[in-house]
Structure formats: C-alpha cells, structure tokens
C-alpha cells in the first residue's frame, strides 16, 4: 500500500514536472538569498557574500538532478537516456547504420535457420509419444529399406512380443472419379489400426473400426484437414459423402486434425483402408507396404529390433522361395523423418551462430572505437556532475537501443528469409516435408529472437561500460590514457579479423564453385531442346483402354486433336518423361552373342514415332520409326549412343537383333541410333537407353510432350481440356513445362539451394570481415593519434601516414586471404560431391575471390587511413 501511495505521489510530481522544476529553482534562489543576507549581516561585502553563498550551495545541476531522481519514476530517466541514445546514434549515422545492419543480418540469419531447426527438430511430431514409434522395413539384396509383403506383415504382427500395435501403410495414390473427369489424387492405404498406433484421433467423424480393412467391410476413408478445406470447403456434412477411389465407392468417415502430418506418405488427401483383396497382398514376394509400430512400455529399441529380426529369420527358413535374404529393418520414426535433415540443419545453425557471434564482436569493436573518441565528452559530462553510474547507464541504454532495433529488424528480415528458403524448395519436395509447413514466427522462434537480442544487448552494454569504469574519468580529459586493455583489444581484434577474412574467403570460394556448377548444370547438354516444351502425365484406366488397339487409337487421337491446337507444333508420347529419376529399366540381351549371366540393365522408353523430332533430338544414324509401325510389323527399336558405345563398340549396331526382359524375349531389330537424351537427373552420367515404338506395346500410363511455337505454359490448360474431351476416363497429372521440370528437379534444386545458402552466408561473412577490418584499424588509429601527430609534427608526409595505416590493414588482409585460400582448398574437398563439371581448384574463382576481398579490405581501411592522415599535429599534441 505504501508503495502504491508513493507511486501515486510520484505521478503527481510527474504531472507537474514544469511546476516542480520552477518551484525547486525558486526555493534554491530563496535559500541562496537568505544565506547571502546572513553573510552580509556577519560583515561580508555583498560581492563576497554572493560567491560564498554560491560555493556553499555546491553543484547546482547535480542537486537538481538528485532531487529530480528522487521524485521521478524509474522509466523517466530511462526515457531520457533512450532519447539521448537515439540522438547520439542519429548524430553518427554511419556508425549506427553499420552496426544495426550487420547485427540485423546476423540476427536474421540465426532466427531464420532456427525456425527450420524448430520446425524439424524441436517441435515434436504430431503423434502421442512420438519417441516410442518405429518404422519397419524389409531388407533385401537391393538395400535396407524396402517394402514389406502383406503376409509377412500379418506374421510380424502376430508373432512379435515387443509392440503394442503394428500397422502398415502404402503411399500409392488413387485415381478419383469426379464429375470433372478422373483425377490423380494423393492418397495412402493404411491398415485399420494405423491412426490408433500413431495416437491420433479425427477432429470430425470417427477412426476406422478394427475390422474395417477386411474384405467384407464397406470401403471407407479419412481425409486430411487440408483436403477437407480444399475439396469439401470445410463443411461438416462431408462425413458420409461418397467418393470413387480407383473405381471403388468409398465413404468418408472422418477428418484428421489440422496439424497432423505423416511425412513418409505425404502428400496425402485420402487415407483409405488397406485391403487384402489385390493379387499382390496374397503373395509373399510382392512387397508394397511399410510398417509402423508402437513399442510396448519398457521395451528398448534394441530388444524390439532383435525380436522382429528373429521373426524374419524364421520366415526366411519357413518360406525360402519368397523370403530368401530378407531381413527385418527398423528405425525410430523420428529418425526416419528428420534424420537426414538433422545434421544439415545443425551445421547451418552453428554456422549462423558463429556469424552472429562475429557480428556481435564487430559491433562491440565499433562501440569501443566510439567510446575512445567519446572519452573527452564523457570526462566533461563527469566533471559537470554526471555520476559514473549514470554514465554507464547511458552506455547500456545505447547498447540496448542498438540491440533492440537490430532485434526487431532482424526478426522481420528473418521472416522474409524463411519465405525465400521455402520457395527454394520445390513444391514436390516440400510436400514430403510436411513439418516445414508450420515455419514462421512461432512462439519458440520469437523467444529465441528475444534471447539473442538480449544477449547482444548485454554484450554491447557491458563492453564500453567496463572500459569506462576501468579508466578513470579524469584521464579522459588529458587524453593520455593508453591503457593495456586497449592493446589487448587490438591483438584480439587483429586475430578476429584474420579469422573473419579466412571464413569469408572459404565461403566465397564455396559459393563461387556452387554457383558456377549450378550454371553449368542448367546449361548441360540434355540432348533435347528444353524451351517451348510442355509435358504432362496421362493415366488411361478403365474398360475403354484394355486392349493395345484401344491404346493405339488413343495415341492417334491425342496426336491428331492436340496438334490442331493453335500454337502446338507437334505432339509425342513416351513411357517415361525425360529428365526424371532415371527409373524404368529392363534387361538387354543381344541375339547371337554368348550370355554369361551378366546384368545388362538399360533404360527403356516406349515412344511414339515423332518423339525424337518433337524433342529436337539428333538422329546419328539409321532411321526413325514410321507412324504405322505397330504390332503387325516386325519389332524394331532405336538405341542411344551410349548403348551403342557400351554394347556395340567398334560395330555397326544397325540391323542387330536384341531382346528385352526375360519373360517374353521377342527379338527386335535396331534401326537407328539417337544422341544421348538425358533420361535421369541433369547431373547423371549418360546411360544406355533403348526406345521401342509406342505402338508395338503401348503402356497405359505414359507421358505426353508438346512442342509449341508460343509460350508453352499458356497451352497447358487448353491441352488438358482437349484430353478430357477425348476420354473422360483419362487422368491428367503433372501438367508443367519442361523448364519447370528442370527447375524443380532434385538435382537443380539441390544445386540452387546450396548455391544460394552458401552465397548468403558468404555475403554476410564478407560484410562482417569488412566491418571487422574497419573496426580494428579505426580503433588502432584512435589509439595512435598522438603517435601519428608526433610523426607529422616531425615532418612525416601524409602519404607515409597512409602507408603506415594501409600497411597495417594490408598485413591483416593478406594473412586472412592467404589462410582463406588455403583453407578453402580443404573445405571445397568436402563439397566436391555437390560440384558438377567444376574443378575444386578453379583458378578464376580463387583469383576473383582474392581480388574481391583485397578490394573490400582496401575500402575498409581507407577511411581510417584518411582520418589518420588528416590528424592535426598541434591538436594531437596539445593535451600532452
């Protein structure tokens, strides 16, 4: 209560601050007058009395300050300090802008990367007790993480003693029939207990019943929150609605929570119940499922792993034909989802933390330079009655103002950087990393931002404040304080600058190499003309596309109808679109050549007759297919140059007979050789490929390519319309331009994002090293003012002063750049795998990085050198 009453009285003082000052003034005048009168009465002359009274009264300003402090609220002086700090910073915009900019960048980089760390590593996965969940695979000769077969799943589920529950999912996707025609939709089939194992309950409707994945049960599905919003407008009556998935009427029974995601299967709109009705589910050799299990309480990971390994061994013994060499493999679900990204993020976070630290030290060094220059000002203010505590508080306020502005700006910038980062990741890739969807300025990210801002503020306040309290205020007046702490700082600063320069060189070289290799990648010879090419994926399912003839008719109709679209030059089909994952291979045998069981895997692409001319590929020898080369004609094929090199070295492949696959080896004649079209990723090595005619064995799932004369993206939707008119049962997906496909391809994305990321860090490091160098040199100049003054007074020309300072800077710069170039050799060995068509020892890049840094270093040291050269010797020596 006392406290309240006091504060209330203080507020009354605050309201009448003007009056208070006036009254205090009047009171003091009265006091002096009375004292004077008394002294005169004691026999002093009026003049003497006046001065005596003044003296007796002491420091007017300090008294007023003191009285005011007693009656003022705590924030009043803080506000005053704050206003003064802002005025100080505005008076020196160069310093303020530099300090705030580098701090903002450092803080922004840290926050942005932390937001990814938070979303991927800190925020728990949206399941009950996610740390007890494991994902299960079967290990085959091809690798450790392969699918389970349905019968194996049932045995694992029955025989294990370590899991509370074990369920499976199959991220396959569905074709959905809708009034607008069939659509490829993202989906997954799961066993009935899937969501119970995860510990997730629907926010609307219900979960699957335990037996809802049995053949007799009516088909049902849950939908994701996003699909509910997007496809059903978020309406409650979605429950009970029926959709047709893969030709089966399926009832929607529930909606999953908004924050639910399951990365191993994402993107998923429809979660349907898995059925054991398909042919695949009957066979142990058909693998199509992944397992997910919850460990029983108290069961360790190792014990559980051992248990299912034993089960798999028993199955191997029991069913040798299907289960030979098949073992169990298990991982924590969390490790599976974020295991790959964890080390990358941690490295990035440490990098950002390091840069932030360097930024903070740099700003501190700028603050020190400033505090050296302000020594006199501080000493004068001290002499005028400012207490030491008050002066230190002033410095703390300046530090806090700096840190606070940088913190706010940095947080805003971090938000922008996050969005840019997210845009660097292609949509498809982002869809498989659903945990990144929640990136933004979340509570934890904001707390992190506040913490680093606070830490920076503390650092900036303490450093100059310590300097002030160490050096006696009075020394500042005579400006002859060359304390040992100044020398320590200079040594520390010099080492720091060399480190910064080294770091900047390494990062710049890395960015240069990655940028160059990204450029090379985008300009690599793909064997086809990428621009003005529209592509899409078509699935022809249902009764109208059962026979080869129906598919051939479809091919002809697509060609005929799409070619008439204005702007379309030619249309062609292929079993697999080029520049994909390089999948779709078969075994090649050459008729008439001895076979010794070698594995001759080649890529196979069934393509229409005008495919090569549409891609603008180059025929090396032989001929193209004819339009009418279908099943009625002898089997033929075109091979690429790589296949010719690999299997027909020194021979003419034309006229040779080959067969594909082992099931039905019908011989086909090689009629042509085409240049290597990149079927895999941009950076993949050329691969042997064979192209049989589409019409001799037409696939029902194929790609379509259109060469256009106008902008290719403008034709995508009209082409889709035409296709839906041709066949309402055709599902079109992935309608994009070839440029977009290249842009979004994993190899391009990887190169692009690493180039941008390293480039960003490099730019930051460059800026920091420049500011760091400036700080150290400027500090050194401020410490050597008198020395330089003496030199000039003794007749040293200005140019020698320039040489002195630039030489000091040059030694640091050369040390840093030299060390950096050496280190970058070692560092670039680490990114060698990321480089494409670029040597680690790229002289142009090394030389340009060296030049850029040398120029930047010169710029950074020019200003302090100019200041040193313009030192006025009389002024510099005056205070001696």
């Amino acid at each position: 209560m006392d406290w309240l009453a006091r504060t209330f009285r203080k507020f009354r003082f605050l309201a009448g601050r003007e009056t208070f000052n006036r009254e205090l003034e009047e009171e003091m005048t009265f006091h002096r007058a009375q004292a004077e009168k008394e002294l005169i009465a004691d026999g002093m002359s009026p003049e003497e009395a006046h001065f005596a009274a003044q003296r007796q009264f002491g420091n007017d300003a300090r008294l007023r300050d003191h009285s005011q402090r007693i009656t003022s609220l705590w924030f009043e002086t803080s506000m005053q300090d704050m206003r003064f700090a802002i005025r100080q910073l505005r008076k020196n915009p160069g310093f303020a802008v530099t300090a705030i900019v580098i701090l903002t960048l450092g803080i922004a980089a840290s926050i942005a990367i932390f937001s990814f760390v938070d979303a991927a590593l800190i925020k728990p996965l949206p399941y009950k007790n996610p740390s007890r969940l494991a994902i299960l695979f079967e290990t085959t000769r091809l690798g450790p993480r392969f699918h389970l077969s349905y019968p194996d799943y049932l045995d694992w589920k029955r025989d294990n003693t370590v899991f509370e529950s074990l369920d499976v999912f199959d991220p396959n996707g569905f074709i959905m029939r809708s009034p607008a025609g069939p659509q490829d939709v993202d989906g997954s089939s799961v066993s009935a207990g899937f969501f119970r194992t995860l510990g997730v309950t629907p926010i609307l409707g219900r979960d699957f019943h335990p037996d809802e994945d049995q053949p007799a049960a009516p088909r049902s599905a849950l939908i994701s929150y996003a699909a509910w919003q997007r496809r059903f407008g978020g309406r409650n009556d979605v429950i009970g609605q029926s959709v047709n998935l893969d030709g089966n009427p399926t009832t929607i029974i529930g909606v999953l929570p908004r924050d639910f995601h399951f990365a191993p299967a994402e993107p998923v709109d429809f979660w349907a119940s898995e059925r054991s009705t398909g042919g695949c589910e009957k066979r142990r050799s058909c693998h199509n499922l992944f397992g997910i299990a919850r460990l029983k309480p108290g069961v360790t990971f190792a014990a559980a792993f051992a248990d299912i390994k034993t089960i798999a061994q028993n199955l191997e013994r029991q069913y040798p034909e299907s289960n030979r060499d098949q073992h169990a493999f298990m991982m924590f679900l969390t490790d599976f989802i974020v295991g790959d990204i964890r080390p990358i993020l941690l490295v990035l976070l440490s990098g950002a933390a390091l840069l932030l630290l360097i930024a903070a030290v740099n700003v501190s060094s700028l603050l020190l330079v400033r505090s050296e220059r302000r020594k006199r000002e501080i000493a004068v203010r001290g002499a005028l009655g400012a207490s030491r505590a008050r002066l230190i508080r002033q410095f703390i306020t300046e530090g806090v103002v700096l840190a606070l502005s940088a913190g706010v700006l940095g947080t805003a910038l971090a938000y922008v950087i996050m969005q840019l980062f997210l845009r660097l990741i292609p949509t498809d890739m982002l869809a498989s990393m659903p945990y990144l969807h929640q990136i933004g300025l979340t509570f934890r990210v904001l707390v992190f931002a506040a913490l680093i801002t606070l830490a920076a503020g503390v650092l900036f306040s303490l450093l100059p404040a310590v300097r002030i309290s160490l050096s006696d205020l009075r020394e500042g007046l005579s400006e002859n304080s060359r304390s040992s702490s100044g020398t320590v700082w200079r040594h520390f600063g010099a080492n720091l600058v060399v480190t910064e320069l080294t770091l900047a060189v390494v990062l710049l070289v890395g960015a240069g190499l990655l940028g160059k290799s990204f450029y090379r990648l985008l300009h690599v010879d793909t064997g086809l003309q990428i621009d003005h090419l529209a592509i899409m994926q078509i699935a022809a399912s249902g009764d109208s596309y059962k026979s080869d003839q129906q598919l051939i008719n479809l091919e002809r109709e697509l060609q005929a109808r799409l070619s008439t679209l204005p702007g379309v030059k030619s249309v062609a089909l292929t079993g697999h679109l080029p520049l994909g994952d390089g999948d779709g291979t078969t075994e090649l045998r050459i008729i008439g050549r001895a076979y010794h069981g070698e594995n001759n895997e080649v890529a196979i692409r069934k393509v229409s007759a005008n495919y090569f001319s549409t891609l603008q590929a180059r025929l090396v020898r032989g001929r193209y297919f004819a339009d009418d080369e279908d099943e009625s004609r002898p089997k033929v094929a075109i091979i690429n140059q790589q296949l010719a090199r690999q299997y027909f070295a020194g021979q003419n492949p034309l006229g040779m007979q080959v067969s594909l696959g082992t099931d039905d080896p019908k011989p086909m004649q090689v009629i042509g050789v085409i240049n290597d079209i990149q079927e895999g990723q941009l950076d993949a090595a050329p691969r042997a490929a064979i192209y049989p005619p589409f019409n001799q064995d037409p696939p029902s799932y194929f790609g379509l390519v259109m060469r256009t004369s106008q902008r290719e993206d403008s034709l995508l939707s009209s082409a889709e319309d035409v296709i839906h008119r041709i066949g309402p049962a055709l599902a079109v997906s992935y309608a994009v331009t070839m440029k977009q496909r290249v842009h979004d391809s994993p190899s391009a994305s990887l190169h692009r994002s690493s180039a941008w990321l390293v480039g960003g860090f490099a730019a930051l490091a460059l800026l920091l090293s420049v500011v760091g160098l400036y700080g150290v040199i400027a500090y050194s100049v401020s410490q050597r003012t008198r020395e330089i003054g003496v030199r000039i007074a003794l007749g040293a020309p200005r140019s020698s002063v320039y040489r002195l300072i630039l030489g000091e800077a040059g030694r640091l710069a050369i040390a840093g750049i030299g060390a950096g170039l050496l280190c970058s050799l070692a560092a670039t060995m680490l990114i060698r795998k990321l480089l494409f068509d670029v040597q680690v020892w790229d002289v142009t890049i090394l030389a340009s990085v060296g030049l850029v840094l040398a120029a930047a270093g010169l710029l950074a040291s020019y200003f302090p050198a100019r200041r040193a050269a313009s030192i006025n010797p009389t002024e510099a020596l005056h205070t001696e």
Binding site: E26, E27, F30, G58, L63, I70, T71
Partner: protein, 113 residues
Amino acid sequence: MVSSMAKRPDLIPGTLDMLILKTLSRGSMHGYGIALSIKRLSEEVLTVEEGSLYPALQRLLVQGWVRAEWKMTETNRRARFYTLTAAGRKQLGVELSQFEQMLAAIGRVLQDA
C-alpha cells in the same frame, strides 16, 4: 573530480531525515530555516549540506511524511514551508527509538573497551 561534500565532516549516515523531522516537529519551516535551525541547535557542529537537504526533503515528500506549501515569510518573501504530517510524526517516533537503541548499543561497546 573533487566533491564539495568532502570539505566538512558528514552527518552520521541516515540521521538527516530524523533531524529534519525533529526540527519540523517544532512547527512548519522553510528549507533555509531547517538548515539554520539544525546548525544553531547543534552549536554549529552539524551543518546540513544544501546538496543533501533538498533531495532529502523531496524524499520525505514522496514518503508522505511532510507536506509543503508556499507561504510568505516575515520579510514578505515567498518561500516553501514544510509541515510534519501525522505519518511523519509516527516515523519520527520510530526513527528516534531506533537511534536511541543504536546509541545505547554503541555506548555499551565503548564502555566495554
């Protein structure tokens, strides 16, 4: 910097408030009057530094132990007169008894030695 306070011996720390309150218990007074009264009654041993007097008065005002109003002096000049409040009187009692306890304690220590 040489402080002007260092010229004369200081009051025992913490006693200034008590002295002001005691002085005001004899009637309302302006700042100069308070300083003069303390000086005279202590036979010039205790001098209240103006630099501490006015801040101390502000402190007492904030605590609510004194009240201030502008009045005319006998010589017809405007001056701020301070008056003890009821809370101030109580506080004076507290401080006096604390001070006496302390004096007694110090006295015992000195006798012992």
